[in-house]
Symmetry: C2
Subunit: 937 residues, 2 copies
Amino acid sequence: MPRKYVYSFGEGAAEGRDDMKGLLGGKGAALAEMTNAGIPVPPGFTITTTACTLHRELGTIPAEVSRQIDEHLAVLEQRMNRTFGDADEPLLVSVRSGAKVSMPGMMDTVLNLGLNPEAVRGLAESSGDPRFALDAYRRFIMMYSDVVLGVERSRFEAVMSSARRKARKQTDSQLSAKQLEKVVTAFEKIVLDRTGEPFPRDPRVQLRGAIEAVFGSWDTERARRYRKLHDISDALGTACNVQAMVFGNRGERSATGVGFTRNPATGEREFYGEFLQNAQGEDVVAGIRTPRLLVELEAVLPEAYRELQDIALRLERHYGDMQDFEFTIEEGKLFMLQTRTGKRTGIAAVKVATDMVDEGLITREEAVIRVEPVQLLQLLHPVFDPAARAEHEVAAVGINASPGAACGRLVFTSDDAVAEAEAGNEVILVRHETSPDDIHGMNAAVGLLTVTGGMTSHAAVVGRQMGKPAVVGCESLRINAAREQLEVGGHTVERGDWLSIDGTTGEVILAEVGTMPSEVVQVVTGELDPAKSTIFAGFQRLLEWADLTRRLRVRANADTGPDAEVALALGAEGIGLARTEHMFFGADRMPKMQDMILARTEAERRKALRRLLPLQRRDFIALFKAMSGLPVTIRTLDPPLHEFLPNPTELKVEIEVMKATGKSKGQRKADYEARLAELEAIYERVLSITEINPMLGWRGCRLTILVPEIIEMQARALFEAAAKCISNGVSVDPEIMIPLVGDVGELRRQREVVERVAKEVEAKLGVHVNYKIGTMIELPRAAVTADKIAEQAEFFSFGTNDLTQTTFGFSRDDAGKFLGRYVDEGILPRNPFVSIDREGVGELMRIAVSKGRAARQGIKIGICGEHGGDPQSVGFCHDLGLDYVSCSPYRIPVARLAAAQAVLHERGVEELRTRARRNLRYKTPPTYHDTALGHDA
Amino acid sequence: MPRKYVYSFGEGAAEGRDDMKGLLGGKGAALAEMTNAGIPVPPGFTITTTACTLHRELGTIPAEVSRQIDEHLAVLEQRMNRTFGDADEPLLVSVRSGAKVSMPGMMDTVLNLGLNPEAVRGLAESSGDPRFALDAYRRFIMMYSDVVLGVERSRFEAVMSSARRKARKQTDSQLSAKQLEKVVTAFEKIVLDRTGEPFPRDPRVQLRGAIEAVFGSWDTERARRYRKLHDISDALGTACNVQAMVFGNRGERSATGVGFTRNPATGEREFYGEFLQNAQGEDVVAGIRTPRLLVELEAVLPEAYRELQDIALRLERHYGDMQDFEFTIEEGKLFMLQTRTGKRTGIAAVKVATDMVDEGLITREEAVIRVEPVQLLQLLHPVFDPAARAEHEVAAVGINASPGAACGRLVFTSDDAVAEAEAGNEVILVRHETSPDDIHGMNAAVGLLTVTGGMTSHAAVVGRQMGKPAVVGCESLRINAAREQLEVGGHTVERGDWLSIDGTTGEVILAEVGTMPSEVVQVVTGELDPAKSTIFAGFQRLLEWADLTRRLRVRANADTGPDAEVALALGAEGIGLARTEHMFFGADRMPKMQDMILARTEAERRKALRRLLPLQRRDFIALFKAMSGLPVTIRTLDPPLHEFLPNPTELKVEIEVMKATGKSKGQRKADYEARLAELEAIYERVLSITEINPMLGWRGCRLTILVPEIIEMQARALFEAAAKCISNGVSVDPEIMIPLVGDVGELRRQREVVERVAKEVEAKLGVHVNYKIGTMIELPRAAVTADKIAEQAEFFSFGTNDLTQTTFGFSRDDAGKFLGRYVDEGILPRNPFVSIDREGVGELMRIAVSKGRAARQGIKIGICGEHGGDPQSVGFCHDLGLDYVSCSPYRIPVARLAAAQAVLHERGVEELRTRARRNLRYKTPPTYHDTALGHDA
């Protein structure tokens, strides 16, 4: 028996089902499901994605598929009691694409297919409405020519507007039959002119063309781009739905519209949508006429409205989720054309999920799986004050690299950023691109904007690390460094002017737009009473349910007391990474750090370190207090030293310019020479520290092994801080983490120093501190020798940023040149700095976990790279059996939810889905007036 | 029964054997072996290395060990018929260290132990020579005080020279008994003054002190440093030999000396050594008296001489290797004190091994295992003309980073190097340290000298890669860049002065010292008739034997026709790595390469590439011709682009200085502005290409995937060259190697381009070329996904330089800051850039081999990193089951030998050793007049 390529639906029965989305596409499966449920759906049939794949491979529709299409077309003609191309009772169909995953607006549709001059006459007679028939025909010619024949839509639109002008009418629907006849003639001429062929009259030829166009639309550039962006496989293909036409443009008792079972922006339980009377579906989308709110349909067509509301509620109950549906009312009779899971904002997602639990519609676990983890970020990042935002236009849109809104004065250099910040001004740092030399400026700025770079550029990565809004790769900007000006699409702003960016959307506004913390953050920081927030309770409940489900612990990457407090309020169960070097980027500390680095003797260095110690101790006390008793993982100094030093090129330029110009500006010779000597000394020292590949240089434990004074100071500050907390009744659980270990010998050395200092502090202060020593696993060598390293480590934390860099041999700072194109061109499926590369980096992690656990049973293993807040990566960490993930504070809710979803995926999502489908044919449908619909059994 | 800690030897029988070196040390085992063989050895006993280990752990000699020492001392007294400390017939002993592996000069010895005032009297009487007794005593006090009591030797030497002055004598042996008595009194006073205790009189106390000192000498700083340098385990410990004294200073019929069974410099079969009449062993070493050649002993003490020669030949025959022995003749009677394998030069090693095969003493396989592979380099690198060399003194000694001698004019910058080279001058480039910016200068220079950096510094690595002599880390140099002067220990030389360096020894000479190719190289390059070389035949034969044994193939890293020819002559079986980028560093090509890189459009770039194509094609033809039919692996462009561009800091300085000084030097304004604009444009472009971590940046296939014009040009040049060769009857076997692949998708892309070009060239020229496409495995991700990559690769070549960098996260250019200290301080056992890190990098290689072979049976796997010429790494590659190693041409003999040794080690070296021990008690000893000693059974 040949394979089945076509599935019919109609007359209350369908060959397909909802769980056949892979074969029938989302739309086809939904049409089948609704048909089987007795919901009024115009009959038709679905050509499978398998047929699409065959078409892609062969370049044509195979004979067997054609045969089955003909067979089902015959059934459809019978059901509709109309004949394709018939002069009296012509069958008209719509041809629509429908992939497994919704790709809104990406693919093609043809309506009114089957019309030709004879059929138009038949339709005019059978409908008694020649104007309607002609209008349907001109729409068909236009769509078909656009979609199938490739004739530009604008040519047809020009004819229409000329016709309107001639007839002095405002809208197309005001054109008379006579005027439309002329339009059709003009349309046919356009097709002949552009294609060299007359418009096809044979409905079967039309149908074949439309099906091929639908299949072909899977492979358009924009569809491919969309799939890449949304991580949808190119191999899926689309199904094609051929369905009898129903008309919402058959007069005032006809209408067409779209609706949601709840408000997709807020999640409120209300019947939400839009409709147009006497119109076809495309009119709603086209925006020529302004649609009316769906609730107003009750006054216009009360019976159809009630039936629609009833069906909508049944659909929501059936699918157990908010639905987005399309309908047409033809002369008072309602037809459903589509239903699918409705897209919604983060706020709505949380509200719908928690409400549905209260309504007994879904379980708490289902609620947990319903919300996309990253959607929670929408509830957390600063937002523009909506009123202020509305007053300004967007000057440019870049890549939304680090979320949140920010507003400040424009500066072009990191030094300016620091100077302005010290003067008390908030600044947006605008750079062509940032580099490690900009760290101090990035730290001083409230937001970052760059002309080049992608999601993995330096600005993006550091922005996310620092929790600063960042828009990168905003290529329409032009920086004129000499004049300190920024040009954007005709506008020019200068240093010191106001600038606002929204890192959540990528928007750049050349004005001061006030920002405010999100409602959830206001609650979390105690600025808003939770009772006064409409969204906080749902957010909190959903995450509590997630916490009941998840196995992975969630910690925060936080370097300061305030960060730690926010993290705790957002559910952190400890700190997984406190970067001690971040404590030194502050303007008050940088000079002390520079003294330490530029010290020429150990004695000088120890002196500088003694001045840093109290600052570091204070930082640690703040962290311990904030986390009272929860584990706090403190990483010893990590970055290359030159990150704290001036740029050598700038120094060299200053020196050479001084030399070339001499002491020309009336300067005293002695002053001049002293200054020159000083500069040259600093330059030599900076140069001796500058590295060719700083990422692979003298940093992390390599530095603190050979200059042990540094780690000694850090350990002393830590143990003194811990002792002080204990003395004050604050319990502490410090974990000391050594970075960049590649060999167990390195860790052994560092452990010796830390243990010695611990004993010294205990002897001095008389307070015993319990602590653990562990290491980052961030080098391939650490991963493959994890068994040896585990002998000296009480915990591992994967530093997947560095591990990704070394495993791929990609510098995060430089990969912008090629990584974006690698992903665009499909060489890599996704950016490995955003989501863990399971095949390579993940394999090394797997080796490390297995060797580490074999050598030390129960060794605690976590992750503290940026991936710790990426839902896919969190899922991978769960699968690997890690103990915890650690991420930036605002990512904590994301990680909590993702960790719970990982458990649910492990248990099988399909099982949940199956359980959700149950009450379709229930007798008494719920109404929008019910406040709760009963509780789950 | 207690463990045995002491082993006796004497009276023709010993408790030990030669195969107990681990327990008895080399000396102890040799003394036992000789004793058992009936060779005259003064009796004594050996305290084991196990006792040493106990002493190190406990800080004292355990009671059981003391008990056994006493027991054996009693046996010794009995054998010698003398008593320890006896006033009439005192027993005197020597106490000598002796580890498993010889550590010449590193450890301590005490002679004449057992003397005190009473015993001196007894000795004077029994010997009838009071002067001899007193001389023995003063020697003993001096040695014992130095070694055991820690009193400075110089204080005693001062007394001796003052005594000589007073007595107006030239030598110590001319001092009378009376004068020596005063010396002894003065010595005893020194000991009392310095230690607060009288010199110990009890021989048992003396003995215990000496044994503890010998054991303690294992842990001195210099001994530890020596072991680190020679890769000897600290855990071994030393044995301690206590042996009855025999005296070479009992008059004119007494003598002492050292000898070799063959000439250790040339390997000639001659009785070679030195002796002193009427002297103790230390006198030979001390150099106060000039020793006489051993052959002269025949005239002095003919019987002892003949016996010595006979014993020496028996020892060589017994051990099957050249021996280095010590002897003493006491009043005409010969005693052997030590025998061990003699150290020798590379030339001698080859000659001895091949001669011994001819003599039937060892097998060919034994010969192969006898020569240290790196010793062969001594036969290959350029050498100073010996006559010229003798005329100059060495001004400084640095680290011998890249072997060979070189002589040229001194330059301080890479630009100067290029300019001078273009003017036809040979130059030595002297830099504080080199960086990738110096590549063009390094290429232009004949030798490299740097002030800082170690074996893995940039200069060292690139020097070895380029085959240029390099001396690095020569810290006594001072560069005065401003004056273009170099200061070395008081001397100052200037730019343009002559300078000579020997990268084999690290010597720097401030003069023109002529160099010449080594004899072997002269033969290989056809400059010398092999028959006229004394060493070539042995070299050739040894390597032929190695070739019969080895399984690994050996290929060369060679980029040019001449290099390939040398490689072939040295035994290369193909080219494993031709670096196409090296072809562009030439002065004539660099500008074309720069045009290509700075091109702003694809059209411009293609134009520049068209000019490079014929050059590249010519290079390939030369390679193919040189290797006629052997495989030639050509790697497509690898390094970061900025290696071909000017230094951005220098550009920036030039621009800013121009700006600051304006058009002050009478330049026309238009010229000034045009030049400034040009510089700024170049600077911007260079800056946009400059990377923060070039090692991890946009290079290798990442570059040629996104700019496919480059690899297209290279593939076209390659296939056109191959086609041309084939047309001319030269057979070719090209292998195209894609660098820096991390994901199979990259390789797939590059394969598509290469295959397309291959077809285009075939269509155009009508010649079919067979070729393979493969990849480097030089990233951890490539190693762990080798199964996937193997689907697209017909061969793998491990790029262990980069793989080491990424696995450790060490930049080779920057690791100098810490790697030396890591090795010095024992954090890493050895430099992983010199010898493959088996635990980490090796584990990734193992994974790659296993996954690669599983996915593609029989996939060819080799290595082309610098490790390919390191004997230890070659051994590892053999163990891993690779198919070939590839290394620089002069390393090919090293790799051939190391590959053969790997097979022999696999079969068990000990087995060979055992087979070698056989003919000790043969009746008719061989003589130095036999030309051949019969053939092996």
